[in-house]
């Protein structure tokens, strides 16, 4: 028993009371919602050609990160995350609330920061030209690396920067491990609040998809989408993911804590479960998704699924098979609309589920394969599915507050 269903008797109900989004579609809830309604996708097919990325819609970082010195200490992924975290705190109405921020628990899903491409290429070029003295690499790194670059790369310094910029003084944990890190961050934060260990938490992640060093890493496994954009479900013969830039943060809060301060919920986060399928045989991953599905405390009523499917194979086909066996739940894909934002994809999925519930409608489909179909009416429960491109499966149930 290692999952954390939050619907046990005696456990505290957990609400989503704040959402912060800065994505390729825009910043804030209205801009993202409008783009989803208009099926507007922001892809750059030229800047990283032949690779396709979903670039961040430019934001004014000053509004959430007022000190230029702070901005300079961060690389893009940290700025995006610190910005989105600020939006989430604003959304929850707790920005600057010292009493709450001094105790808020933070669980962040993070990768690592961007490299200095010029330094890397300078070293490789010198090596190609014959530099091979012992200590050559040492000397170049000692002279060329910006002293504080390390802090902009360290995984836990996204949380560190959020704490510094927004004045968070509770606890801080950073989970790594690609897509499922986002699910595990939500899972642990939820279980801590549900069990009474914590009252309120900031959960989320951020990702800069506009990075050639990351493209190299995923190109090792031939995971990058090339040449032509297509919705994730239509990539069966042209596989891969298009990296996306996004920050997505949520404020999770016990119902009692939220009610005491008069906070309104977007939705209730009822359960988050995760597992690690072996993925050695076809069907392993789908079987794990079925197992996770069975653990969700679903109720009668209109449901939907928000999938973080990447477009990479064989994971996307396995997930499509799983989705077909739950055809009464209309599907939406964040990968099509936002690109693949790795650790951020799952928090982004929860954010969109909560937003859909609070706005009384699922956003429209954007798919030609029939995997996503039109849906009418207000969903009261949305399952967020996050299957990693290589490893890790997570699932969450987001419900309307009753």
């Amino acid at each position: 028993m290692t999952d954390t269903p939050a619907s046990k008797p005696g456990q505290t109900e957990v609400w989503i009371t704040g959402i912060g989004l800065a994505t390729s579609l825009g910043e804030g809830l209205d801009a993202n919602w409008a783009a989803l309604q208009e099926k507007r996708i922001n892809v750059d097919e030229k800047g990283f050609a032949p690779y396709i990325v979903h670039p961040l819609m430019p934001v004014s970082f000053d509004s959430q990160i007022p000190k230029k010195g702070d901005q300079r200490q961060m690389e893009a992924w940290q700025r995006i995350g610190t910005y989105a975290a600020g939006l989430a705190l604003d959304s929850a109405g707790i920005k600057g609330n010292k009493d709450i921020l001094s105790k808020i628990d933070m669980v962040v899903a993070a990768g690592g920061g961007e490299r200095d491409l010029n330094v890397d290429c300078g070293v490789l070029t010198a090596e190609a030209k014959g530099a091979n003295a012992p200590g050559f690499l040492n000397e170049r790194l000692m002279s060329d690396l910006r002293p504080t670059l390390f802090l902009a790369q360290l995984s836990n310094l996204l949380a560190g920067n959020i704490a510094i910029v927004h004045g968070l003084g509770g606890t801080s944990r950073t989970f790594m491990g690609e897509e499922v890190a986002g699910a595990d961050a939500a899972r642990i934060a939820l279980s801590r609040i549900a069990s009474g260990e914590s009252d309120i938490a900031l959960v989320g992640g951020s990702h800069n998809g506009e990075r050639k060093d990351l493209l190299v890493l995923y190109e090792f496994g031939d995971f990058n989408l090339k040449d032509k954009f297509a919705p994730v479900w239509a990539r069966k013969d042209h596989t891969g993911f298009a990296l996306g830039s996004a920050g997505a943060f949520l404020v999770l809060e016990s119902r009692a804590h939220a009610e005491a301060r008069g906070a309104k919920p977007f939705a209730r986060l009822s359960s988050v479960v995760a597992d690690l399928a072996k993925r050695k045989q076809p069907g392993d991953m789908a079987a794990t998704l079925e197992k996770l599905w069975a653990k969700l405390p679903m109720h009668e009523g209109k449901g939907a699924i928000i999938s973080g499917a990447t477009g990479a194979e064989p994971a996307t086909s396995e997930e499509r098979g799983f989705l077909k066996s739950h055809a009464d739940f209309p599907v939406r894909s964040t990968g099509t609309m936002f690109g693949h934002t790795m650790e951020t994809q799952f928090p982004l999925g929860i954010a969109l589920a909560a937003l859909s519930i609070s706005r009384g409608a699922l956003f429209p489909p954007n798919d030609s394969t029939g995997t996503e179909i039109e849906s009418q009416g207000a969903p009261t429960q949305i399952v967020v599915v996050g299957a990693g491109h290589w490893r890790g499966e997570g699932m969450a149930l987001v419900e309307a507050v009753r």
């Binding site: 290692t2 790194l141 802090l151 801080s172 944990r173 790594m176 090792f220 496994g221 690690l276 997570g394």
Partner: protein, 425 residues
Amino acid sequence: MTAPRDKFGRPVVVVTGMGIMTSLGAGKADNWAKLVAGESGIRTITRFPIDGLKTTMAGTVDFVSVDPFSSTALSERMADLVTQEALEQAGIGAKGDFPGPLFLAVAPVEVEWPQRSELGRAVGKLDLTYDDLLRISGGGKYSAYHHRFMFGSVAAHLAETFGTKGSPISLSTACASGATSIQLGVEAIRRGETDAALCVATDGTVNPEALVRFSLLSALSTQNDPPQAASRPFSKNRDGFVMAEGAGALVLESYEAATARGAKILGVIAGCGELTDSFHRTRSSPDGKPIIGCMKKTLADAGMEPDQIDHINAHGTSTPENDKMEYNTTSAVFGELVQKIPVTSNKSMVGHTISAAGAVEAIFSLLTLEHQRIPPTINYDIPDPTILFDVVGNKARDARVTAVMSNSFGFGGQNASLILTREPA
């Protein structure tokens, strides 16, 4: 007869298996013998050229080999070995079938220089750009590097090898990571989600870029000669920490589950606490409040008073700032007791094992409880007159030890403390 629940009604969490590896050697027996003998594992680096470096020594684990070498592969291998040792001692579950989740503290993963240079050579041009690298990275030739350099790869490997349950969590809270992995395990057992948890912390990142990064932040000692004398916590002439490699694994169980299966109980995780410092990316708040709060939270979590702590296993990095700050904050929490409680820093001998340190030092604390003997802080020849700890200097000390506080503080404002006891309170 001990109650299976603590005074707050939560399941008591005990340790039933431990595995450790540091620059001193492999396993508890070897490490403990060398630790109480005051031996240093710090040596001049031989893994790669040291020309052009300001710091040329580290606590490397050179007796474990991985091929092809990468820091992540070394971290994974060390984690394998310490986990095997811990599971053998615990005798829990079946081979490849551990009955609980994995919490892994691991250094952030990235493509490393040997692999990057290999790509550069494969391009075969004199002037290289990332576009050149990108053009040759696909096609399957380097697919093993994708798997190797996924952040979740070490945890996935351990989960598959040892059959842990559910989604393994890879975490980083910088130098507090090892303590955080234990804290996550304790919390899962206290919430009743599991009866057992495997908490592992590993760090094999002594490589040129990692060394340069810390060096550029002026965090490392440059007293290279002799290397064994470089790490000198609480000494007046300390000048920085010494990077080191190592790993630790702990099998945690609820007291009830451990006694039900007749397991030998090695100690109790009586309390854990953490508190974020939002002052600065690398420096502690000058008033020390977050660290003070962290220690107080940990005491409260254990339901203990300062006078019940009879030994402190310090973070004690040997940086000028940390050791002073640690003394000031400990004084604020412990008052006059601060001069009476014996304090030691294992880092004087094994160096700073970074992501692994919290777990490595928790295990040394548990061995201290078992042997009733406190390992020394070596190189303590010129005490810092402003640090009035009762430092266990240079020679191990026999002492009655019933409860140890182990502290970990890291970049990014990460503070975590643990309280370990011999018997359930």
